[in-house]
Protein backbone atom coordinates (compact mmCIF):
# COMPACT_ATOMS: atom_id res chain seq x y z
CA UNK A 1 0.00 0.00 0.00
CA UNK A 2 1.31 3.42 -0.87
CA UNK A 3 2.94 5.47 1.83
CA UNK A 4 1.52 8.68 0.58
CA UNK A 5 -1.77 10.19 -0.43
CA UNK A 6 -3.10 13.51 -1.69
CA UNK A 7 -4.88 16.08 0.45
CA UNK A 8 -5.85 19.52 -0.90
CA UNK A 9 -3.63 18.98 -3.91
CA UNK A 10 -0.54 18.18 -1.88
CA UNK A 11 1.26 14.84 -1.43
CA UNK A 12 1.31 13.83 2.24
CA UNK A 13 2.23 10.78 4.28
CA UNK A 14 -0.73 8.56 5.15
CA UNK A 15 -1.60 9.01 8.84
CA UNK A 16 -4.78 7.00 9.07
CA UNK A 17 -3.29 3.67 10.12
CA UNK A 18 -0.43 2.25 12.15
CA UNK A 19 2.85 2.00 10.19
CA UNK A 20 3.58 -1.10 8.10
CA UNK A 21 7.30 -0.86 8.79
CA UNK A 22 8.56 -2.07 12.18
CA UNK A 23 8.12 0.77 14.66
CA UNK A 24 7.59 1.26 18.38
CA UNK A 25 4.86 3.33 19.92
CA UNK A 26 6.32 6.47 21.51
CA UNK A 27 3.17 8.29 22.59
CA UNK A 28 -0.44 7.20 22.55
CA UNK A 29 -3.60 9.21 21.86
CA UNK A 30 -5.39 9.72 25.12
CA UNK A 31 -3.34 9.20 28.29
CA UNK A 32 -4.31 6.00 30.08
CA UNK A 33 -5.86 7.77 33.04
CA UNK A 34 -8.23 9.93 30.99
CA UNK A 35 -11.33 7.87 30.26
CA UNK A 36 -12.78 9.79 27.32
CA UNK A 37 -10.39 11.90 25.24
CA UNK A 38 -13.08 14.10 23.77
CA UNK A 39 -13.87 17.21 25.77
CA UNK A 40 -15.65 20.49 25.15
CA UNK A 41 -12.81 22.80 26.20
CA UNK A 42 -11.89 25.43 23.63
CA UNK A 43 -9.54 24.75 20.71
CA UNK A 44 -6.03 25.58 21.85
CA UNK A 45 -6.81 25.37 25.57
CA UNK A 46 -3.74 24.55 27.64
CA UNK A 47 -5.62 22.83 30.46
CA UNK A 48 -5.91 19.37 28.85
CA UNK A 49 -2.16 19.50 28.17
CA UNK A 50 -1.50 20.24 31.85
CA UNK A 51 -3.95 17.53 32.95
CA UNK A 52 -2.11 15.05 30.76
CA UNK A 53 1.24 15.93 32.30
CA UNK A 54 -0.17 15.62 35.84
CA UNK A 55 -1.79 12.26 35.20
CA UNK A 56 1.28 10.90 33.44
CA UNK A 57 3.31 11.90 36.50
CA UNK A 58 0.89 10.04 38.82
CA UNK A 59 1.10 6.97 36.59
CA UNK A 60 4.88 7.10 36.27
CA UNK A 61 5.35 7.15 40.03
CA UNK A 62 3.16 4.07 40.32
CA UNK A 63 0.69 5.64 42.75
CA UNK A 64 -2.53 5.41 40.73
CA UNK A 65 -3.89 2.85 43.17
CA UNK A 66 -3.65 5.26 46.08
CA UNK A 67 -4.14 8.65 44.45
CA UNK A 68 -7.09 10.94 45.09
CA UNK A 69 -7.59 14.08 43.03
CA UNK A 70 -9.50 16.97 44.61
CA UNK A 71 -10.94 19.29 41.98
CA UNK A 72 -11.93 22.92 42.21
CA UNK A 73 -14.43 24.63 39.92
CA UNK A 74 -13.42 25.93 36.52
CA UNK A 75 -13.19 24.71 32.93
CA UNK A 76 -10.97 21.86 34.15
CA UNK A 77 -13.89 20.54 36.23
CA UNK A 78 -14.80 18.84 32.97
CA UNK A 79 -12.12 16.32 33.87
CA UNK A 80 -13.35 15.53 37.38
CA UNK A 81 -15.71 12.83 36.20
CA UNK A 82 -13.46 11.70 33.37
CA UNK A 83 -10.42 10.19 35.04
CA UNK A 84 -9.48 6.67 36.00
CA UNK A 85 -8.24 8.08 39.31
CA UNK A 86 -10.45 8.52 42.40
CA UNK A 87 -11.79 12.06 42.48
CA UNK A 88 -13.41 14.22 45.14
CA UNK A 89 -15.12 17.34 43.83
CA UNK A 90 -14.75 20.46 46.00
CA UNK A 91 -16.20 23.95 45.79
CA UNK A 92 -14.57 26.97 44.16
CA UNK A 93 -11.46 27.77 46.18
CA UNK A 94 -12.03 25.04 48.75
CA UNK A 95 -9.97 22.11 47.46
CA UNK A 96 -6.98 22.63 49.81
CA UNK A 97 -9.01 22.20 53.01
CA UNK A 98 -10.82 19.20 51.54
CA UNK A 99 -7.47 17.72 50.48
CA UNK A 100 -6.21 18.29 54.02
CA UNK A 101 -9.13 16.32 55.42
CA UNK A 102 -8.53 13.44 53.00
CA UNK A 103 -4.80 13.27 53.72
CA UNK A 104 -5.12 13.59 57.50
CA UNK A 105 -7.77 10.86 57.58
CA UNK A 106 -5.90 8.62 55.09
CA UNK A 107 -2.17 9.47 55.26
CA UNK A 108 -1.38 6.54 52.95
CA UNK A 109 -3.01 8.22 49.94
CA UNK A 110 -1.38 10.58 47.44
CA UNK A 111 -3.60 13.64 47.34
CA UNK A 112 -3.41 16.34 44.70
CA UNK A 113 -5.66 19.28 43.92
CA UNK A 114 -6.46 20.71 40.49
CA UNK A 115 -7.53 24.33 40.63
CA UNK A 116 -7.53 27.37 38.36
CA UNK A 117 -6.11 30.79 39.25
CA UNK A 118 -9.57 32.25 39.87
CA UNK A 119 -10.35 29.32 42.14
CA UNK A 120 -7.07 29.27 44.05
CA UNK A 121 -5.91 32.89 44.15
CA UNK A 122 -9.28 34.67 44.28
CA UNK A 123 -11.81 32.62 46.19
CA UNK A 124 -9.36 30.25 47.80
CA UNK A 125 -6.23 32.27 48.63
CA UNK A 126 -6.66 31.71 52.35
CA UNK A 127 -7.05 27.97 51.90
CA UNK A 128 -3.86 27.37 49.91
CA UNK A 129 -1.78 29.66 52.13
CA UNK A 130 -2.92 27.88 55.31
CA UNK A 131 -2.47 24.44 53.78
CA UNK A 132 1.08 25.40 52.72
CA UNK A 133 1.89 26.96 56.07
CA UNK A 134 0.76 23.82 57.85
CA UNK A 135 3.07 21.84 55.61
CA UNK A 136 0.26 19.45 54.67
CA UNK A 137 1.64 16.56 52.64
CA UNK A 138 -0.57 17.28 49.66
CA UNK A 139 0.26 18.59 46.17
CA UNK A 140 -1.66 21.62 44.94
CA UNK A 141 -1.68 22.22 41.19
CA UNK A 142 -2.76 25.59 39.85
CA UNK A 143 -3.71 25.97 36.20
CA UNK A 144 -2.99 29.67 35.69
CA UNK A 145 -4.35 31.37 32.57
CA UNK A 146 -4.87 34.77 34.13
CA UNK A 147 -8.64 34.74 33.67
CA UNK A 148 -11.84 33.20 34.96
CA UNK A 149 -12.26 31.02 31.89
CA UNK A 150 -15.47 29.20 32.67
CA UNK A 151 -17.52 32.31 33.27
CA UNK A 152 -16.28 33.90 30.04
CA UNK A 153 -12.93 35.58 30.64
CA UNK A 154 -12.92 37.91 33.65
CA UNK A 155 -10.04 39.35 35.63
CA UNK A 156 -8.50 37.31 38.43
CA UNK A 157 -5.88 38.07 41.04
CA UNK A 158 -3.20 36.78 38.63
CA UNK A 159 -4.24 38.82 35.59
CA UNK A 160 -1.17 40.82 34.50
CA UNK A 161 -1.04 44.60 34.10
CA UNK A 162 -2.30 45.62 30.69
CA UNK A 163 -4.17 42.37 30.14
CA UNK A 164 -7.60 42.95 28.66
CA UNK A 165 -10.42 40.92 30.19
CA UNK A 166 -14.16 41.43 30.35
CA UNK A 167 -13.77 43.23 33.69
CA UNK A 168 -10.61 45.14 32.68
CA UNK A 169 -11.58 46.08 29.15
CA UNK A 170 -8.87 48.71 28.67
CA UNK A 171 -6.27 46.44 30.25
CA UNK A 172 -5.52 45.85 33.94
CA UNK A 173 -4.71 49.23 35.49
CA UNK A 174 -2.86 49.24 38.83
CA UNK A 175 -4.79 52.28 40.06
CA UNK A 176 -8.23 50.81 39.38
CA UNK A 177 -7.58 47.07 39.58
CA UNK A 178 -4.49 46.69 41.71
CA UNK A 179 -1.59 44.41 40.86
CA UNK A 180 -1.35 40.67 40.26
CA UNK A 181 -0.51 38.19 42.99
CA UNK A 182 2.41 35.93 42.12
CA UNK A 183 1.18 32.95 44.07
CA UNK A 184 4.10 30.55 43.66
CA UNK A 185 6.43 33.32 44.85
CA UNK A 186 4.22 33.91 47.89
CA UNK A 187 3.90 30.23 48.76
CA UNK A 188 7.66 29.64 48.47
CA UNK A 189 8.18 32.00 51.39
CA UNK A 190 6.22 29.76 53.77
CA UNK A 191 8.34 27.35 55.80
CA UNK A 192 5.76 24.61 55.41
CA UNK A 193 6.17 24.61 51.63
CA UNK A 194 8.77 22.05 50.59
CA UNK A 195 8.51 22.15 46.79
CA UNK A 196 7.33 25.13 44.76
CA UNK A 197 7.68 25.44 40.99
CA UNK A 198 6.18 27.30 38.08
CA UNK A 199 5.90 25.73 34.67
CA UNK A 200 3.97 26.27 31.44
CA UNK A 201 2.51 24.28 28.58
CA UNK A 202 2.98 26.69 25.69
CA UNK A 203 5.63 24.60 23.93
CA UNK A 204 6.91 21.04 24.03
CA UNK A 205 10.04 21.94 26.00
CA UNK A 206 7.97 23.61 28.69
CA UNK A 207 5.59 20.68 28.81
CA UNK A 208 8.55 18.38 29.45
CA UNK A 209 9.93 20.72 32.14
CA UNK A 210 6.49 20.99 33.76
CA UNK A 211 6.16 17.23 33.84
CA UNK A 212 9.48 17.02 35.74
CA UNK A 213 8.15 19.58 38.22
CA UNK A 214 5.00 17.55 38.77
CA UNK A 215 7.07 14.40 39.34
CA UNK A 216 9.26 16.11 41.92
CA UNK A 217 6.21 17.66 43.63
CA UNK A 218 4.59 14.26 44.01
CA UNK A 219 7.88 12.74 45.16
CA UNK A 220 8.02 15.43 47.83
CA UNK A 221 4.58 14.37 49.05
CA UNK A 222 5.44 10.67 48.94
CA UNK A 223 8.57 11.35 51.00
CA UNK A 224 6.45 13.18 53.59
CA UNK A 225 8.61 16.26 53.18
CA UNK A 226 5.80 18.81 53.27
CA UNK A 227 3.54 20.86 51.03
CA UNK A 228 4.21 20.79 47.29
CA UNK A 229 2.91 23.27 44.74
CA UNK A 230 3.13 23.46 40.96
CA UNK A 231 1.76 26.48 39.14
CA UNK A 232 1.25 25.79 35.42
CA UNK A 233 0.68 28.64 32.98
CA UNK A 234 -1.87 27.51 30.40
CA UNK A 235 -3.14 29.08 27.20
CA UNK A 236 -6.64 30.54 27.06
CA UNK A 237 -7.04 32.01 23.56
CA UNK A 238 -10.73 32.62 24.22
CA UNK A 239 -10.11 34.56 27.45
CA UNK A 240 -7.20 36.42 25.90
CA UNK A 241 -9.03 37.39 22.69
CA UNK A 242 -6.23 35.93 20.53
CA UNK A 243 -6.08 33.30 17.78
CA UNK A 244 -5.22 29.79 19.00
CA UNK A 245 -1.83 29.81 17.25
CA UNK A 246 -0.93 33.17 18.85
CA UNK A 247 -1.71 32.03 22.38
CA UNK A 248 1.64 30.31 23.12
CA UNK A 249 3.50 33.54 22.29
CA UNK A 250 0.95 35.60 24.21
CA UNK A 251 1.64 33.42 27.23
CA UNK A 252 5.41 33.82 26.85
CA UNK A 253 5.29 37.58 26.22
CA UNK A 254 2.69 38.55 28.83
CA UNK A 255 2.13 35.97 31.54
CA UNK A 256 5.51 34.24 31.77
CA UNK A 257 7.41 37.52 32.15
CA UNK A 258 5.43 38.24 35.32
CA UNK A 259 4.76 34.74 36.64
CA UNK A 260 8.28 33.61 35.83
CA UNK A 261 9.08 29.96 35.32
CA UNK A 262 11.43 27.74 37.28
CA UNK A 263 11.83 25.80 40.51
CA UNK A 264 11.51 28.22 43.42
CA UNK A 265 12.04 25.73 46.22
CA UNK A 266 13.04 22.05 46.34
CA UNK A 267 13.74 20.77 49.83
CA UNK A 268 14.02 17.16 48.67
CA UNK A 269 16.34 18.09 45.81
CA UNK A 270 18.52 20.18 48.09
CA UNK A 271 18.83 17.27 50.51
CA UNK A 272 19.84 14.80 47.80
CA UNK A 273 23.58 14.00 47.57
CA UNK A 274 25.36 15.54 44.57
CA UNK A 275 25.48 13.38 41.44
CA UNK A 276 28.46 11.05 41.28
CA UNK A 277 29.15 10.96 45.02
Amino acid sequence: MSRSTRVDGRIVVRTDRVPDEPARLVDDFTPALIDVGEHHLCPGCGEPVAMRAALEAVAELGVVGRAIGVFGIGCYTAFSNNLDVEVLQALHGRAPSVATGVKRARPDTVVFTVQGDGDMVNEGLQEVIHTAARGENVTCIMLNNGVFGETGGHMTATTVLGQRTKTSLEGRDPVVHGRPILLATLVAQLDGAAYVARGAVNNAGNVARTKKMLLQALRTQIAGAGFSFVEILTMCPTGWFVETQEAPDYLADNLAVVHTGGVLKDVLGAAAPPEGS
Partner: protein, 352 residues
Protein backbone atom coordinates in the same frame (compact mmCIF):
# COMPACT_ATOMS: atom_id res chain seq x y z
CA UNK B 1 -18.83 16.48 83.63
CA UNK B 2 -19.55 19.57 81.60
CA UNK B 3 -21.96 19.17 78.67
CA UNK B 4 -19.24 19.99 76.13
CA UNK B 5 -17.10 17.15 77.43
CA UNK B 6 -20.01 14.73 77.49
CA UNK B 7 -20.76 15.62 73.87
CA UNK B 8 -17.13 15.02 72.94
CA UNK B 9 -17.18 11.63 74.67
CA UNK B 10 -20.45 10.76 72.94
CA UNK B 11 -18.97 11.59 69.53
CA UNK B 12 -15.99 9.37 70.21
CA UNK B 13 -18.21 6.58 71.53
CA UNK B 14 -20.19 6.82 68.27
CA UNK B 15 -16.99 6.28 66.27
CA UNK B 16 -16.10 9.84 65.31
CA UNK B 17 -12.43 9.85 64.28
CA UNK B 18 -12.15 13.23 62.58
CA UNK B 19 -13.18 16.60 63.96
CA UNK B 20 -12.39 20.07 62.72
CA UNK B 21 -13.50 23.35 64.22
CA UNK B 22 -12.78 26.99 64.85
CA UNK B 23 -13.01 28.49 68.32
CA UNK B 24 -16.25 30.39 68.95
CA UNK B 25 -18.37 30.74 72.07
CA UNK B 26 -20.10 28.51 73.19
CA UNK B 27 -18.69 25.84 70.86
CA UNK B 28 -15.04 26.30 71.83
CA UNK B 29 -14.95 23.81 74.67
CA UNK B 30 -16.15 20.99 72.43
CA UNK B 31 -13.16 21.69 70.17
CA UNK B 32 -10.83 21.75 73.19
CA UNK B 33 -12.11 18.40 74.44
CA UNK B 34 -11.87 16.80 70.98
CA UNK B 35 -8.33 18.16 70.55
CA UNK B 36 -7.36 16.36 73.72
CA UNK B 37 -9.38 13.15 73.35
CA UNK B 38 -9.40 12.30 69.63
CA UNK B 39 -5.67 11.68 69.12
CA UNK B 40 -5.75 9.31 72.10
CA UNK B 41 -8.10 7.03 70.15
CA UNK B 42 -6.21 7.36 66.87
CA UNK B 43 -8.39 10.13 65.49
CA UNK B 44 -7.54 13.55 64.11
CA UNK B 45 -8.71 16.91 65.47
CA UNK B 46 -7.90 20.03 63.47
CA UNK B 47 -8.06 23.58 64.76
CA UNK B 48 -8.85 25.04 61.37
CA UNK B 49 -7.98 28.57 60.35
CA UNK B 50 -11.59 29.42 59.54
CA UNK B 51 -15.03 27.82 59.77
CA UNK B 52 -15.11 27.31 56.03
CA UNK B 53 -11.83 25.43 56.19
CA UNK B 54 -13.12 23.42 59.16
CA UNK B 55 -16.14 22.15 57.25
CA UNK B 56 -13.88 21.60 54.21
CA UNK B 57 -11.55 19.36 56.20
CA UNK B 58 -14.46 17.43 57.66
CA UNK B 59 -15.77 17.04 54.09
CA UNK B 60 -12.49 15.51 52.92
CA UNK B 61 -12.33 13.13 55.87
CA UNK B 62 -15.98 12.13 55.43
CA UNK B 63 -15.33 11.29 51.79
CA UNK B 64 -12.82 8.66 52.90
CA UNK B 65 -15.54 6.96 54.95
CA UNK B 66 -14.10 8.21 58.25
CA UNK B 67 -16.92 9.21 60.66
CA UNK B 68 -16.43 12.96 60.78
CA UNK B 69 -17.95 15.97 62.48
CA UNK B 70 -17.61 19.71 62.70
CA UNK B 71 -19.49 22.46 64.47
CA UNK B 72 -19.65 26.03 65.57
CA UNK B 73 -22.26 28.47 66.80
CA UNK B 74 -24.81 30.24 64.59
CA UNK B 75 -22.47 32.69 62.85
CA UNK B 76 -19.93 29.98 62.12
CA UNK B 77 -22.68 27.78 60.72
CA UNK B 78 -23.64 30.70 58.48
CA UNK B 79 -20.15 30.65 57.01
CA UNK B 80 -20.35 26.91 56.40
CA UNK B 81 -23.67 26.94 54.52
CA UNK B 82 -22.43 26.65 50.96
CA UNK B 83 -20.34 23.64 51.89
CA UNK B 84 -23.13 22.06 53.94
CA UNK B 85 -25.55 22.35 51.05
CA UNK B 86 -23.12 20.80 48.60
CA UNK B 87 -21.96 18.07 51.02
CA UNK B 88 -25.62 17.02 51.05
CA UNK B 89 -25.63 16.87 47.24
CA UNK B 90 -22.43 14.84 47.40
CA UNK B 91 -24.41 12.36 49.57
CA UNK B 92 -21.86 12.38 52.37
CA UNK B 93 -22.38 11.65 56.07
CA UNK B 94 -21.41 14.46 58.43
CA UNK B 95 -22.48 15.41 61.94
CA UNK B 96 -22.65 19.15 62.52
CA UNK B 97 -22.97 20.72 65.98
CA UNK B 98 -24.57 24.09 66.50
CA UNK B 99 -23.80 25.15 70.05
CA UNK B 100 -26.25 27.98 69.57
CA UNK B 101 -26.67 31.31 71.23
CA UNK B 102 -30.34 31.73 72.18
CA UNK B 103 -32.71 29.90 69.81
CA UNK B 104 -32.63 32.11 66.73
CA UNK B 105 -30.95 29.49 64.50
CA UNK B 106 -34.10 27.36 64.15
CA UNK B 107 -34.78 28.69 60.63
CA UNK B 108 -31.11 28.27 59.66
CA UNK B 109 -31.15 24.65 60.80
CA UNK B 110 -34.54 23.47 59.58
CA UNK B 111 -35.16 25.63 56.52
CA UNK B 112 -31.68 24.88 55.18
CA UNK B 113 -29.50 27.93 55.74
CA UNK B 114 -27.73 27.25 52.47
CA UNK B 115 -28.72 27.59 48.84
CA UNK B 116 -30.72 25.11 46.89
CA UNK B 117 -33.17 22.44 47.84
CA UNK B 118 -31.83 20.05 50.44
CA UNK B 119 -32.79 18.73 53.86
CA UNK B 120 -30.81 18.07 57.00
CA UNK B 121 -32.02 15.99 59.93
CA UNK B 122 -31.99 18.18 63.06
CA UNK B 123 -31.87 16.83 66.61
CA UNK B 124 -32.40 19.08 69.66
CA UNK B 125 -31.41 17.62 73.03
CA UNK B 126 -33.11 18.99 76.12
CA UNK B 127 -30.30 18.19 78.54
CA UNK B 128 -26.83 16.67 78.79
CA UNK B 129 -28.03 13.09 79.17
CA UNK B 130 -30.21 13.37 76.08
CA UNK B 131 -27.38 15.05 74.19
CA UNK B 132 -25.18 12.02 74.81
CA UNK B 133 -27.87 9.81 73.20
CA UNK B 134 -28.78 12.11 70.33
CA UNK B 135 -25.16 12.73 69.31
CA UNK B 136 -24.74 8.99 68.92
CA UNK B 137 -28.04 8.71 67.06
CA UNK B 138 -26.78 11.46 64.74
CA UNK B 139 -23.72 9.41 63.76
CA UNK B 140 -25.98 6.49 62.95
CA UNK B 141 -28.57 8.45 60.97
CA UNK B 142 -25.96 10.33 58.96
CA UNK B 143 -24.26 7.24 57.56
CA UNK B 144 -27.55 5.39 57.14
CA UNK B 145 -28.97 8.16 54.95
CA UNK B 146 -25.72 9.59 53.57
CA UNK B 147 -26.98 13.02 54.60
CA UNK B 148 -25.67 15.56 57.12
CA UNK B 149 -27.33 15.58 60.55
CA UNK B 150 -27.35 18.72 62.69
CA UNK B 151 -27.36 18.57 66.49
CA UNK B 152 -28.80 21.79 67.95
CA UNK B 153 -27.15 22.48 71.29
CA UNK B 154 -26.89 25.70 73.24
CA UNK B 155 -24.89 27.64 75.81
CA UNK B 156 -26.54 25.89 78.76
CA UNK B 157 -25.86 22.44 77.36
CA UNK B 158 -22.22 23.34 76.82
CA UNK B 159 -21.65 24.59 80.35
CA UNK B 160 -24.02 22.59 82.53
CA UNK B 161 -22.24 19.96 84.57
CA UNK B 162 -24.13 16.72 85.02
CA UNK B 163 -23.20 13.30 86.20
CA UNK B 164 -23.50 11.21 83.05
CA UNK B 165 -21.95 8.00 81.94
CA UNK B 166 -21.36 7.84 78.22
CA UNK B 167 -22.30 4.33 77.15
CA UNK B 168 -21.96 3.48 73.47
CA UNK B 169 -25.42 2.90 72.02
CA UNK B 170 -26.05 0.18 69.46
CA UNK B 171 -28.38 1.10 66.61
CA UNK B 172 -27.72 -2.06 64.66
CA UNK B 173 -25.15 -2.71 61.96
CA UNK B 174 -24.14 0.36 59.96
CA UNK B 175 -24.43 0.24 56.18
CA UNK B 176 -21.33 -0.29 54.03
CA UNK B 177 -19.38 2.71 52.96
CA UNK B 178 -18.42 1.24 49.61
CA UNK B 179 -18.74 4.70 48.03
CA UNK B 180 -15.79 5.93 50.17
CA UNK B 181 -12.47 6.95 48.62
CA UNK B 182 -9.06 5.48 49.45
CA UNK B 183 -7.40 5.61 46.04
CA UNK B 184 -7.63 1.87 45.45
CA UNK B 185 -10.04 1.88 42.51
CA UNK B 186 -7.67 4.12 40.54
CA UNK B 187 -6.46 2.54 37.30
CA UNK B 188 -9.09 -0.21 37.37
CA UNK B 189 -11.44 1.39 34.86
CA UNK B 190 -13.93 1.90 37.70
CA UNK B 191 -12.33 4.72 39.69
CA UNK B 192 -14.76 6.17 42.23
CA UNK B 193 -16.11 9.69 42.28
CA UNK B 194 -17.61 11.68 45.17
CA UNK B 195 -19.10 14.85 43.77
CA UNK B 196 -22.04 17.18 44.28
CA UNK B 197 -22.34 17.29 40.50
CA UNK B 198 -22.96 13.59 39.99
CA UNK B 199 -21.53 10.22 40.88
CA UNK B 200 -20.90 8.52 37.57
CA UNK B 201 -17.71 8.80 35.56
CA UNK B 202 -18.50 9.60 31.96
CA UNK B 203 -18.12 6.90 29.34
CA UNK B 204 -20.38 7.60 26.42
CA UNK B 205 -21.03 11.30 26.71
CA UNK B 206 -19.17 14.35 27.83
CA UNK B 207 -19.92 16.10 31.11
CA UNK B 208 -22.19 15.84 34.11
CA UNK B 209 -25.98 15.63 33.96
CA UNK B 210 -27.14 17.82 36.81
CA UNK B 211 -30.84 17.23 36.21
CA UNK B 212 -30.35 13.49 36.68
CA UNK B 213 -28.21 13.99 39.76
CA UNK B 214 -30.45 16.51 41.50
CA UNK B 215 -33.48 14.29 40.84
CA UNK B 216 -31.68 11.36 42.46
CA UNK B 217 -30.72 13.50 45.46
CA UNK B 218 -34.29 14.72 45.83
CA UNK B 219 -35.54 11.14 45.78
CA UNK B 220 -33.02 10.12 48.43
CA UNK B 221 -34.03 13.11 50.55
CA UNK B 222 -37.71 12.26 50.23
CA UNK B 223 -37.03 8.65 51.25
CA UNK B 224 -35.12 9.88 54.28
CA UNK B 225 -37.88 12.27 55.36
CA UNK B 226 -40.51 9.57 54.90
CA UNK B 227 -38.57 6.99 56.91
CA UNK B 228 -36.97 8.84 59.81
CA UNK B 229 -39.17 8.70 62.88
CA UNK B 230 -39.93 12.20 64.23
CA UNK B 231 -39.24 12.31 67.97
CA UNK B 232 -40.95 14.34 70.67
CA UNK B 233 -41.46 14.20 74.39
CA UNK B 234 -45.13 14.57 75.35
CA UNK B 235 -46.10 15.36 78.93
CA UNK B 236 -49.71 15.35 80.11
CA UNK B 237 -51.13 16.27 76.71
CA UNK B 238 -54.14 13.87 76.65
CA UNK B 239 -56.50 16.16 78.53
CA UNK B 240 -54.59 19.42 78.34
CA UNK B 241 -56.51 22.67 77.85
CA UNK B 242 -53.32 24.49 76.96
CA UNK B 243 -50.41 22.73 75.28
CA UNK B 244 -47.00 24.34 75.63
CA UNK B 245 -44.43 23.67 72.90
CA UNK B 246 -40.74 24.35 73.51
CA UNK B 247 -37.40 22.83 72.44
CA UNK B 248 -33.88 22.57 73.81
CA UNK B 249 -32.80 23.62 77.31
CA UNK B 250 -35.60 26.22 77.70
CA UNK B 251 -38.07 23.34 77.41
CA UNK B 252 -36.76 22.07 80.77
CA UNK B 253 -37.98 25.29 82.35
CA UNK B 254 -41.28 25.10 80.47
CA UNK B 255 -41.65 21.51 81.71
CA UNK B 256 -41.12 22.65 85.30
CA UNK B 257 -43.77 25.35 84.85
CA UNK B 258 -46.21 22.81 83.38
CA UNK B 259 -45.58 20.41 86.28
CA UNK B 260 -46.21 23.16 88.84
CA UNK B 261 -49.50 24.10 87.16
CA UNK B 262 -50.58 20.47 86.97
CA UNK B 263 -49.81 20.01 90.65
CA UNK B 264 -52.41 22.68 91.42
CA UNK B 265 -54.96 21.06 89.12
CA UNK B 266 -54.55 23.16 85.98
CA UNK B 267 -54.80 21.04 82.83
CA UNK B 268 -51.72 21.94 80.89
CA UNK B 269 -49.38 19.76 78.88
CA UNK B 270 -46.09 20.02 76.99
CA UNK B 271 -44.79 18.81 73.66
CA UNK B 272 -41.02 19.02 73.37
CA UNK B 273 -39.86 18.39 69.77
CA UNK B 274 -36.65 16.38 69.81
CA UNK B 275 -36.33 16.14 66.02
CA UNK B 276 -36.74 19.69 64.72
CA UNK B 277 -36.60 18.15 61.26
CA UNK B 278 -38.60 16.08 60.53
CA UNK B 279 -40.86 18.07 62.83
CA UNK B 280 -43.13 15.93 65.05
CA UNK B 281 -46.25 17.17 63.32
CA UNK B 282 -48.44 14.26 64.45
CA UNK B 283 -47.45 14.64 68.10
CA UNK B 284 -48.25 18.35 68.07
CA UNK B 285 -51.48 17.87 66.12
CA UNK B 286 -52.58 15.09 68.45
CA UNK B 287 -51.87 17.19 71.53
CA UNK B 288 -53.75 20.17 70.06
CA UNK B 289 -56.84 18.04 69.41
CA UNK B 290 -59.31 19.05 72.12
CA UNK B 291 -57.07 21.76 73.53
CA UNK B 292 -58.25 25.36 73.94
CA UNK B 293 -54.90 26.86 72.93
CA UNK B 294 -51.31 26.09 72.07
CA UNK B 295 -48.56 28.25 73.58
CA UNK B 296 -45.15 28.26 71.94
CA UNK B 297 -42.10 29.32 73.92
CA UNK B 298 -38.77 29.91 72.16
CA UNK B 299 -35.94 32.38 72.71
CA UNK B 300 -36.31 34.20 69.39
CA UNK B 301 -38.86 36.32 67.57
CA UNK B 302 -40.90 33.31 66.51
CA UNK B 303 -39.49 30.56 64.28
CA UNK B 304 -40.60 27.14 65.48
CA UNK B 305 -44.07 28.66 65.98
CA UNK B 306 -44.47 28.45 62.14
CA UNK B 307 -44.05 24.66 62.24
CA UNK B 308 -46.41 24.44 65.21
CA UNK B 309 -49.07 26.43 63.34
CA UNK B 310 -48.66 24.12 60.32
CA UNK B 311 -49.05 21.07 62.54
CA UNK B 312 -52.02 22.43 64.50
CA UNK B 313 -53.69 23.52 61.26
CA UNK B 314 -56.42 25.54 62.93
CA UNK B 315 -57.45 22.96 65.53
CA UNK B 316 -56.75 25.53 68.23
CA UNK B 317 -55.35 29.07 68.36
CA UNK B 318 -51.54 29.18 68.56
CA UNK B 319 -50.06 31.85 70.82
CA UNK B 320 -46.42 32.87 70.88
CA UNK B 321 -45.24 33.23 74.49
CA UNK B 322 -41.54 33.43 73.66
CA UNK B 323 -39.39 36.36 72.58
CA UNK B 324 -35.83 37.55 72.48
CA UNK B 325 -34.31 37.21 75.92
CA UNK B 326 -30.59 37.91 76.09
CA UNK B 327 -28.08 39.13 78.59
CA UNK B 328 -25.58 41.80 77.63
CA UNK B 329 -23.16 39.39 76.04
CA UNK B 330 -25.81 37.91 73.76
CA UNK B 331 -25.01 34.37 74.71
CA UNK B 332 -25.36 34.17 78.47
CA UNK B 333 -28.29 33.19 80.61
CA UNK B 334 -31.58 34.50 79.26
CA UNK B 335 -33.33 36.68 81.86
CA UNK B 336 -36.77 35.22 81.14
CA UNK B 337 -35.58 31.64 81.54
CA UNK B 338 -37.30 31.41 84.88
CA UNK B 339 -40.03 28.98 85.88
CA UNK B 340 -42.13 31.70 87.48
CA UNK B 341 -41.94 33.88 84.38
CA UNK B 342 -43.01 30.99 82.16
CA UNK B 343 -45.81 30.03 84.53
CA UNK B 344 -47.08 33.56 84.29
CA UNK B 345 -47.14 33.50 80.49
CA UNK B 346 -48.93 30.14 80.40
CA UNK B 347 -51.50 31.38 82.93
CA UNK B 348 -52.09 34.41 80.71
CA UNK B 349 -52.96 32.11 77.82
CA UNK B 350 -55.21 30.02 80.08
CA UNK B 351 -57.05 33.15 81.11
CA UNK B 352 -57.90 34.18 77.54
Amino acid sequence: MEGSEAIADAMIAAGCRFFAGYPMTPFTEVLEHMARKLPAVGGVCMNAESEIEAVGMAWGAAATGTPAATGSTGQGLSLMQESLAEITLARLPLVVLNMARAQGDYYQATRGGGHGDYRHLVLAPGDVAEAVELVQLAFDLTVRWRNPVLVMGDYYLAHTARSVSVEPLDFGPRPDTDWALDGSTGGTGRAKLVSFLGSAKQRDHVGYDLSDHYAACAAASAAMVASVQPLAECLDTDDAEVVVVAFGTPATYAKAAVRQLRAQGTRVGLVRPVTLFPFPTDAVAGAAEGARAVAVYENNQGQMVDDVRLAVLGRAPVHFIGGLSLDGSGFGIAPDLDVAVLRGRIEEVLAR
